[in-house]
């Protein structure tokens, strides 16, 4: 169960960790790794942290990356190109809310493309 790994990329260590806690409360067995803040733990993103998180999140059924604002995306894309893990993909969705949906889907044993579809769908419609 929950073989698609999830990486949370945030400018903030706290946002990444808090989001992990939030989703792990519901989905204990899903692999969720964090890449929050710069190497120094300050506000920003770190390609090395992202690459490490991808490696750790890889359980052979693919890895999904969620990111917060701005440059997090560029670093995430960079990491996708550089990592040796294949089958890594970015999801375009709000970090916290998207991670929640992704984790539930992964926990239900869904495949990567199904998870992407479910997450993307959740945020194309109005939030209720």
């Amino acid at each position: 169960m929950g073989q698609v790994g999830i990486v949370l990329i945030s400018h903030s260590v706290k946002i990444a960790e808090g989001t992990k806690e939030l989703v792990q409360q519901v989905m204990k067995d899903v692999t969720v790794e964090v890449a929050g803040g710069t190497d120094e733990g300050e506000i920003g993103t770190s390609i090395d942290k992202i690459l490490n998180a991808i490696t750790k999140a890889n359980k052979d059924d693919g890895v999904l990356l969620l990111y917060d604002i701005g440059s997090a995306k560029m670093n995430a894309e960079m990491a996708v190109e550089m990592t040796e893990v294949d089958d890594v993909e970015l999801i375009e969705a709000p970090l916290v809310e998207g991670a929640y949906v992704a984790a539930v889907e992964s926990g239900m044993g869904k495949e990567k493309h199904e998870i992407i579809e479910a997450v993307t769908q959740s945020f194309s419609k109005e939030r209720d």
């Binding site: 710069t38 190497d39 920003g44 993103t45 770190s46 390609i47 701005g70 440059s71 960079m78």
Partner: protein, 205 residues
């Protein structure tokens, strides 16, 4: 004129000097329309470039620049990290297996760097980013490969100043919409320093 390994080292050292000297100024620029870290990012990144490369032996400018790219990517942080990282990686690739960099190589290398930045940032000219400095400099080499170093410096400086009038549509500054007008783009300022340093090292080559 041709650039050899030590001229490239010179370029990097001059760039680093300018980043250190203008650290506060870059912070100030980023404070107005960003998150105040561009000076910190660039000063840290270029310092790491020097630390990392100074005692290493490189086969060619391309080898050196590959390390520069990787260091900038992982040490600059923020948007400028992947952008400058990509630019220097493209430069390294364009100059692969060349021990002497001719004017034509400079032109092609900078063009590749510019294309890399545009691709990485999904941005184009006129969006108030570093592209607005890279673009006219590349154009200069295209118009006349043997452009004078002073012209490179002046063009980059003017281009940097011209970003003042632009409205940002990419990066953090874009959140400010109209209010981004009237401020120089921080990444354009750091790009100006890089080209200013390049002009100096071309002159000395």
């Amino acid at each position: 004129m041709k650039l050899q390994l030590n001229d490239i080292r010179n370029w990097l050292e001059l760039s680093n000097q300018l980043m250190q000297e203008n650290r506060s100024y870059l912070i100030e620029l980023d404070q107005a329309i960003g998150d105040s870290d561009h000076g910190i990012n660039m000063a840290r990144g270029f310092q790491e470039v020097i630390t990392k490369t100074q005692d290493q032996n490189y086969q060619s400018p391309s080898d050196l620049l590959k390390d520069v790219a990787m260091t900038l990517m992982s040490k600059v942080g923020g948007a400028a990290g992947p952008l400058y990282g990509t630019a220097f990686l493209k430069l390294s690739m364009a100059w692969k297996d060349k021990n002497e960099i001719q004017v034509n190589d400079i032109k092609e290398g900078l063009q590749a760097g510019l294309d890399g930045i545009k691709q990485r940032g999904k941005a184009t000219t006129g969006e108030k980013t570093m592209i607005d400095v890279w673009d006219p400099v590349v154009q200069l080499f295209k118009d006349d490969e043997n452009v004078a170093p002073s012209t490179i410096e002046e063009t980059a400086k003017r281009a940097m100043n011209d970003t003042k009038e632009l409205k940002a549509t990419k990066g953090r500054a874009s959140y400010f919409k109209e209010k981004s007008i009237g401020h120089i783009d921080p990444g354009s300022a750091s790009s100006y320093y890089i080209f200013s340093a390049l002009a100096t090292s071309i002159k000395g080559a």
